[in-house]
């Protein structure tokens, strides 16, 4: 399951793409690290198991 799918499963109201754009940015720097949460400015918490920022 992708990060996006996990987020939508936890916060289905974010399926509205405008809400997602407003609060959250997912990013992949094509460096082998994979997808990560670049920005999280949503009032509800990041889903369990996910973290903000690029993994080391």
């Amino acid at each position: 399951m992708s990060i996006y799918e996990i987020i939508i499963e936890t916060h289905p109201e974010l399926l509205d793409i405008h809400l997602f754009d407003k609060y959250i940015i997912l990013q992949n720097d094509s460096d082998g690290v994979g997808d990560y949460i670049r920005k999280w400015e949503y009032s509800k918490p990041i889903p369990e198991g996910l973290t903000l920022g690029k993994p080391e």
């Binding site: 992708s2 996006y4 990013q27 992949n28 720097d29 094509s30 460096d31 997808d35």
Partner: protein, 203 residues
């Protein structure tokens, strides 16, 4: 051509023999003193230089040779849904100053400071033919700098350009793409459907 003296202040005079060739100038060297400044090289301009006897010298016009580049993605690149993904621009059409990294970071880091025109284009589509939104972003130093967005279709040809200032040492730009349709998407291979190019315009 008249020869003789060149009147100065109605009393003193400078002998015209002081000059020897077309383009020679008479320049002051101090109080009540003059000297010949020989004509300069074609294309050179006269600039002040206190280290010379006349305080002037001929010099080549100052010029800056700005880097220019054009790069593209050599093969299709898969991107996840809803994720801004760096486009791996791994093939160079040209890179005059070797300022583009096409192997590791896929970024342009010019070593000459100034304002640059940066252009980018990418054809992005959803692999499953699902509708979504499409965004193409120029990132400067890791953050969105300019973005083009197209809404609610199965794919789009996205293009944008921006003027970007670079400090000539650490500033860089990269290209990111995103599609929001369900499932993976694709950034098509270049050089026609996908590229980024740029050139320095002024310091």
């Amino acid at each position: 051509m008249a020869t003789g003296r060149i009147p100065i202040n109605g009393t003193a005079a400078i002998q015209s023999t002081i000059v020897d060739a077309k383009g020679d100038l008479i320049a002051g060297t101090g109080a009540d003193a003059v000297s010949r400044l020989a004509v300069g090289t074609n294309g050179h301009t006269l600039v002040a230089d206190s280290s010379t006897s006349t305080g002037l010298k001929w010099a080549a016009p100052a010029s800056t040779s700005f880097p220019t580049f054009r790069v593209y993605r050599g093969t299709d690149q898969t991107i996840s849904s809803n994720v801004f993904t760096k486009v791996q621009l791994n093939t160079e059409s040209w890179d005059t100053n070797n300022n583009f990294d096409p192997t590791t970071n896929f970024r342009f880091t010019p070593t000459v400071a100034g304002y640059y025109q940066i252009n980018a284009l990418a054809y992005v589509y959803n692999n499953g033919g699902n509708n979504g939104n499409y965004m193409l972003s120029i990132y400067k130093n890791g953050s969105q700098y300019a973005t083009w967005m197209a809404l609610n279709d199965t794919g789009y040809q996205l293009a944008l350009s921006a003027l970007v200032y670079f400090d000539g040492s650490s500033d860089y730009v990269e290209l990111y793409a995103r599609q929001t349709g369900s499932g993976n998407g694709t950034v098509s291979a270049g050089p026609v459907d996908n590229y980024m190019d740029g050139v320095g315009i002024r310091a």
